[in-house]
């Protein structure tokens, strides 16, 4: 083969793989996709600005596409999602999520709080601890309860179904409350799960990471490689509690083939400052306990972390001797420890389907929640 044959072969190679696109095919495609020729813009000046923006956006997208890892998307290759792709996911999700449901599971320190949020336009329903039976915990000093409770906002009106007996025993009958206080609807604090779409930023460094099934739908896993760059603000409504110096330490999304987010999971961790007994402090405290004949669990005695908690509790309960011991120099030091923080998992379902959220049939009227 010589160099004069190369152009001929390139032409045959490129043109040999498919037919030219005819005008009829373009028209047929327009029919199939429901396209309609749009009228010319009225203001030429305005169009020029818009066209320039469009070209700039397309250019940015093109440039970012070129930055795909390895230059391709072969199997096993992780693809960096471009700004345009993330914008597409955010727009598609926002457009689809006019109504639907979201299960929000918030895991903190071994316990998990579950909320089932249903939304349809301006109407909301938030079931906290769905299906959980009401349990009342009484101690000599406190009364607490857990169980299913519901917040509901319908046409600007706020309703609350408590997780405890509103009327005193023996008639434990929780019942709906219509809250008529000014701004009561806002006080319900129902989290809008769609706010997490705000994390769809190129700064998060999203890459594709395989496929999985979410609610029976094949979804692609998008993993943030630089989650710490994600601002916390879009996630704040979904975080019940957060550690000191919080930052996003993990962020994963799962999207369906229509670019709609089906599931999201993120972890907000931080660094807490805790008081710790020094070695000398622990020894002095053990001597104090032995000398004063105090009763203490052996396990508590052996661990500095739990020992100082016990000592602080004793001091708070009035043991002035212990309180004085803890105040002595060299007894207590502060340490920075990593707080595993909170992991929130949001799973969407019934996206775009109408949700029947109506006012309760029966309720009592109160001036404010709680």
């Amino acid at each position: 083969m010589n160099t004069r044959e190369l152009p001929v072969m390139i032409r045959e190679c490129v043109d040999g793989g498919g037919q030219p696109i005819s005008l009829g095919e373009v028209r047929a495609r327009a029919v199939m996709t429901g396209r309609r020729a749009r009228p010319a813009p009225v203001r030429r000046e305005a169009w020029l600005g818009a066209a320039a923006t469009g070209v700039a956006a397309a250019g940015i997208a093109g440039a970012l596409v070129a930055s795909q890892v390895g230059g391709g998307t072969a199997a096993g290759t992780r693809t960096v999602l471009t700004a345009a792709m993330l914008k597409q996911v955010a727009a598609a999700s926002q457009a689809a999520m006019t109504s639907g449901r979201a299960r929000i599971a918030t895991a903190t320190g071994g316990s998990t709080l579950v909320q089932q949020v249903t939304f349809d336009g301006a109407n909301w329903n938030d079931v906290v601890n769905p299906g959980a039976r009401i349990r009342i915990h009484r101690t000599p000093h406190s009364l607490s309860w857990t169980g299913e409770s519901i917040d509901r906002a319908v046409d600007g009106q706020a309703y609350h179904y408590p997780a405890f007996a509103f009327r005193p025993t023996p008639h434990i009958v929780p019942e709906w409350m219509h809250i008529i206080a000014s701004g009561a609807g806002a006080s319900l604090n129902i989290p809008d799960p769609r706010t997490l779409l705000g994390v769809l930023s190129p700064s998060a460094g999203f890459v594709t990471d395989g496929y999985t099934t979410v609610n029976g739908v094949r979804a692609e896993h998008l993993r943030a490689t630089t989650p710490a760059a994600v601002p916390l603000r879009p996630l704040n409504p979904l975080i019940g509690t957060e550690p000191d110096h919080p930052r996003v330490s993990a962020l994963d999304l799962w999207v369906n083939p229509s670019d709609v987010v089906l599931k999201a999971q993120f972890t907000v961790s931080g660094t807490d400052t805790v008081s710790m007994l020094t070695a000398a402090g622990a020894q002095a405290l053990r001597h104090y306990i032995k000398g004063h004949g105090l009763t203490i669990n052996v396990n508590t005695l052996q661990k500095r972390g739990t020992l100082i908690a016990w000592a602080h509790a004793q001091a708070a309960a009035g043991n002035t001797g212990l309180a004085g011991l803890l105040r002595q120099p060299g007894m207590v030091t502060t340490e920075q420890v990593t707080d595993p923080g909170v992991t929130v998992t949001v799973t969407f379902s019934q996206i775009g389907r109408r949700q029947d959220i109506t006012a309760p049939a029966h309720y009592i009227t109160v001036g404010g929640k709680g």
């Binding site: 160099t3 327009a30 010319a40 596409v65």
Partner: protein, 177 residues
């Protein structure tokens, strides 16, 4: 009273203003656009992206017709379209003919082209293969003329190395022997 038909037919698309102008535009723009995108993304994805871009031009013809470099704009539209389409699935191998077809060209050419970086591949195909001018390719792909020239030279060098193509000087030398 007219009887309603029970068969719903798809409504024909509204013809864009200046249909003759659109037809002329497609005739002039389709070949370089399709070839550039086939070179960039392969037969299937490239042709699909080109067709999608032309359908986009149909929809926005009133606007596109006024653009000084409509082909370049559509090339960018097509690249975005191709990137979206290729995001969710494994892209087809570049320039691989269907099984059973017998190519009339060097069998190693598709693989050699595929080994080039995308921009070099597009430049070599359009300039060296189809004879478009550097300026035309620069306008289409949105880069400077000198950049296209660099892409062509580097791409051709790599392509010849890969295929073992004999440069013209060596041909002369051999014929003189």
């Amino acid at each position: 009273m007219r009887q309603r038909t029970t068969h719903a037919m798809p409504a024909p698309p509204e013809a864009p203003g200046d249909p003759a102008g659109f037809e002329a535009f497609v005739l002039a723009t389709e070949p370089p656009l399709r070839r550039a995108l086939v070179a960039a993304y392969g037969y299937e994805d490239g042709r699909e992206a080109a067709a999608e871009a032309l359908a986009y031009a149909w929809e926005h013809w009133a606007r596109v017709r006024q653009m000084p470099n409509a082909a370049g704009y559509l090339f960018r539209v097509a690249r975005s379209s191709a990137a979206r389409g290729r995001r969710w699935r494994r892209p087809a191998p570049l320039l691989t003919l269907p099984p059973g077809s017998e190519p009339s060209f060097e069998p190693g050419l598709p693989a050699a082209l595929a080994s080039l970086p995308e921009r070099q591949r597009v430049a070599v195909v359009l300039v060296h293969g189809f004879g478009y001018t550097l300026r035309e390719v620069a306008g289409l792909t949105g880069v400077k003329v000198t950049t296209v020239q660099n892409h062509v030279e580097r791409g051709l060098h790599r392509l010849r190395d890969r295929l073992g193509v004999v440069p013209p000087a060596d041909i002369t030398t051999r014929s003189e022997r």
